[in-house]
């Protein structure tokens, strides 16, 4: 029961007399969750015996049940709308999709082949389970968390290292919430965890709105200047209530995050009325700051220490106040975790895997923008909390559902509305998915491992990540209105890196390996499998054979051009 022991310290710190009651409540609640989740999981021993994430076997029974609920909810809505779900994606397409979603890269030729050759039933489930336990999963999860929480703002190596470690340990979501919102208390020796706050600390609006949007699914920026014009849920007092939790946050000269002992938010209504904001969460729940007697000398000393820490990177760590507004925020968020915290992350995971949130846009969770499948979203949130906030539980359940396994191919049909989830939606690769996939696809396929990985695969994967960085920085981050910029097309068309590295005529590269193939059809087929993770179709084979034939006088150039055209095709650029 490692995970249980690790779970407890996260709720330990009692920060003030008033916070005590809430903490006790949360503690009691969590204990009851632990008990119920063990019962629900059925096979509590798996976590300790397998030494991997909780319940590779046991949790999967629960995941199977949840997958059934997902499919039932989606099928019911499709029936009600008179929509036929699309076909199920074929094996090769499934392998590519799942590998991108769990390993953050395309499958190697050997991985793909092993999957296609596996005659035993249940191989899709096994592939998912295998990928959930590989080193790749933590790297991909790290990249995804970085994208969600910080990457649009800043690249921070220590933060990425911290996220990688957290992902390796499968730290639960509530614990991550604590660590990134209370780094000075939960991770005092870890520079990385503080990055979420540190890079926003000078901007109260960014702290307020980013926390609210990214962690709770609610963009309340509109309520800053006036009560939200379209959404009755959000008034100015909500915005400034959330801002109150961050008002005292500052960074020391040494780069750590801390809180002052004082500082309140005042705001002006559109009627010109001045108001004091209270420490109020989105739910409307508030906390009062306990009155503390401090002498003038004590105040002076505290302020002096903080001032010193802000100025001098050699200063002692500043004192931490007994009343921490951010700790209060975390406690409030965890008091009713399903309502915002779990629902938000469940919705974001759903969108990551299915191309669109049950609530869309992702940061507009409010009464005027109901989910497409409200009960399903409630269930996902409930399951996340009941399963110790393990994101992999939801990931697994979604990925083994039929809903996830729809083909993206429409043939000539009209596209069904995206919220019907009747066909898979194409999803642009993230910068890291694309960069890693470009690197992998252009290596000699025979030199890349199959499903059984060498013992140093984790180090190898780390090296792949390292090499991918330069490329990843130049690719567009997926967003709701994602467009491929022409700079990307120019870079891949005319950039020297493409020509001299990815398309190099070397034995360790695909272009070199293809030259050793005995025939043109085999060259074509091998290139398709390495790059698009599928065999070529007859029309493609014919076109490419003619293309290569026309370049018989310059065969290497022909192969390079074929590889380039496959790498830059839309099919490669998207997860579909």
């Amino acid at each position: 029961m490692n995970w249980l022991l690790k779970r407890l310290p996260a709720v330990r710190p009692a920060r003030s007399a008033l916070a005590g009651a809430a903490t006790l409540w949360v503690l009691g609640f969590c204990l009851s969750v632990l008990l119920t989740s063990r019962v629900a999981a059925g096979e509590p021993a798996t976590a300790t015996t397998s030494g991997v994430s909780p319940g590779a076997g046991g949790a999967s029974a629960a995941a199977q049940r949840l997958a059934g609920e997902i499919d039932a909810a989606i099928a019911a809505s499709q029936r009600a709308a008179g929509i036929e779900p699309g076909a199920v994606v074929e094996d090769a397409g499934f392998a590519r999709r799942v590998t991108l979603d769990l390993a953050g890269r395309i499958p190697t030729t050997a991985e793909l082949q092993a999957f296609l050759d596996d005659p035993a039933p249940g191989k899709r489930r096994r592939l998912i389970e295998r990928l959930l336990t590989t080193a790749d999963y933590a790297f991909h999860q790290r990249n995804q968390l970085d994208l969600l929480l910080l990457a649009r703002l800043r690249r921070d190596g220590a933060w990425r290292d911290y996220l990688l470690q957290a992902s390796r340990e499968r730290r639960p979501w509530d614990q991550l919430l604590r660590e990134i919102l209370l780094p000075e208390r939960e991770q005092p020796d870890e520079a990385g965890a503080a990055a979420f706050l540190r890079h926003r600390a000078k901007d109260l609006d960014a702290l307020t709105n980013d926390t609210s949007s990214l962690l709770f699914g609610i963009n309340i920026a509109c309520a800053k200047c006036h009560d939200h014009p379209l959404v009755v849920d959000w008034e100015q007092r909500h915005y400034f209530g959330m801002a109150s939790f961050f008002k005292r946050t500052y960074t020391t000269r040494g780069g750590s995050v801390a809180e002052r002992f004082e500082g309140d938010v005042r705001f002006t209504t559109i009627y010109g009325e001045e108001k004091d904001a209270s420490f109020m969460f989105l739910s409307g729940a508030r906390v009062e700051e306990p009155a503390v007697e401090r002498s003038d000398a004590e105040w002076k000393q505290v302020r002096q220490q903080i001032k010193e820490a802000e100025k001098n990177d050699q200063a002692d760590p500043p004192p931490l106040p007994a009343f921490s507004p951010r700790a209060q925020l975390v406690d409030l968020a965890l008091e009713d975790p399903r309502r915002y915290l779990a629902k938000n992350v469940a919705n974001r995971l759903w969108a990551r895997l299915l191309g669109r949130g049950l609530v869309d846009p992702l940061d507009q969770m409010h009464s005027e923008n109901p989910p497409s499948h409200p009960a399903l979203l409630e269930r996902l949130a409930e399951e996340l909390v009941a399963h110790d906030y393990q994101l992999s539980h939801l990931v697994r359940a979604i990925m083994i559902s039929d809903t996830y396994a729809r083909s993206s191919r429409l043939a000539d049909a009209e596209p069904p509305p995206p919220e019907a989830f009747a066909v898979a939606l194409p999803r642009p690769l993230t910068p890291h998915q694309l960069a890693l996939s470009l690197s992998l696809a252009t290596r000699d396929p025979a030199a890349l491992p199959g499903p059984a990985k060498p013992s140093d695969w984790e180090q190898q994967r780390a090296a792949w990540e390292q090499r991918a960085e330069g490329w990843a920085r130049r690719f567009e981050i997926p967003s709701p209105r994602f467009q491929v910029p022409v700079e990307e097309a120019m870079l891949l068309s005319n950039g020297t890196e493409m020509q001299q590295d990815l398309l190099a005529d070397r034995s360790d590269r695909l272009v070199g390996a293809l030259q050793k193939q005995p025939s043109v059809p085999e060259q074509i087929d091998r290139a398709f499998r390495a790059i698009l993770s599928r065999p070529a179709e007859p029309a493609e084979r014919e076109r490419l054979a003619a293309y290569l034939e026309a370049r018989r006088d310059r065969p290497v150039a022909g192969l390079r051009q074929m590889v380039w055209a496959l790498l830059t095709s839309a099919e490669f650029r998207f997860n579909h």
Binding site: L230, P361, V484, N494, E540, A565, A570
Partner: protein, 433 residues
Amino acid sequence: MHRQRTDLGSPPATVSRRQLLGAAAVGSTVAAADMNRLSLFSQSGLAGEIARGDKSVILLWLAGGASQLETWDPKPGRSTGGPFAKIQTSVPGIEISELLPKMSQRLNETAIIRSLNTKIADHGGGYALMDTGRRSEPGVEFPHLGAIIAHELAQRESQVPDHIEMYTSTEGRRKGAAGFLGARYNPMFLTDSMMPDNIQRLEAISDADHADRASLQQFLSQRFSRDVPHPAVDSHNAAYGRVRGLMASDYLFDVDREPQSMRDHYGPTQFGQQCLVARRLVEAGVPFVKVARAWWDSHGQNFETHRELCADLDHVMAALLDDLKQRGLLDKTLVVTMGEFGRTPKINGSLGRDHFASAWSCTLSGCGIRGGSVYGKTDEDGQTVIEGETGAGDLFATIFAALGIDHTKEYMLGSRPIPIADFDSFPIREILA
């Protein structure tokens, strides 16, 4: 007033230069390889037809913040005035700093706004405000001016670049972004080189193979997008569809194609040469070009700094306006000259002026502008606006109005309307033609 955008799916009502260039660029690799046909267009019978079409903006960006007192709103003789005199311009009653003698003789095409009060006086915040026309808001990525103009005035599948930004210096380099309009409208960003990155073919592949390879890519890629129709997938194919056309427009960035006399006209500075490129670009139908000249941030030695930088600005801006006018392009090219803010009237201990956003100036020249006009007024020391207070949103509304773009037009971000010029902003009719 609202500009009709050509539906890409139907035949265009009028032939635009962009379309002509585009058709030539994609239609034939031979034509694409030799695309220096600008002079052909401007001299052919088509020129008049084409000239009615497209409008462009050149933004001369004074990075770091130029002093209004040493440019458009001098206060000689006051304690804030500094050492330079003011001079009479070609427009009776309008006086500007003696540091801009050439511009003083060319004010007939230019309107001066002397009453900007934009409030934000840090570089990052001021830049964001003046380049998006509104205050930043967490959670919303507002498009920058160039992206809005490209979105409003360019063909989606344009074969020429439509949003270019050039910087002369590492200081103040900030890359504009298309924000919620989507990366299609991001700028092509030129810094160290006069030529955009990756616009030229590598030696390793012949032009014929480069073109064939593109057709092969298109064949494969379109098989996919037929099966999986989606706007994001389409954007991929659209981006690759523009590559060959953009490559064919590389000559636009090559000032060596201009006669030496024209290069001399703009002068030997990088700013001058980049403005010459800007003229070549708008002549070819590029809707937005920003040329940034740095670094005006004169916290110390303000007067030396401005003596040097104003000379460059004066010469190049005058050369650009002359050239545009002589080519008949000024009627459809709006030249905007501004930075992120102005500078304090108070002269500090280092003979510098600090950041100042409450009473500063900018100019608009050419397309849609009533030349020889001045809008707004500051007090006699230049400390406050006393007439015609203008915000960033009003300036944007004025820019849009000058170009014939409805400034109340809205983008919908989910259920939230976002007007292209901020809420409650109005064009300055007094300086519009």
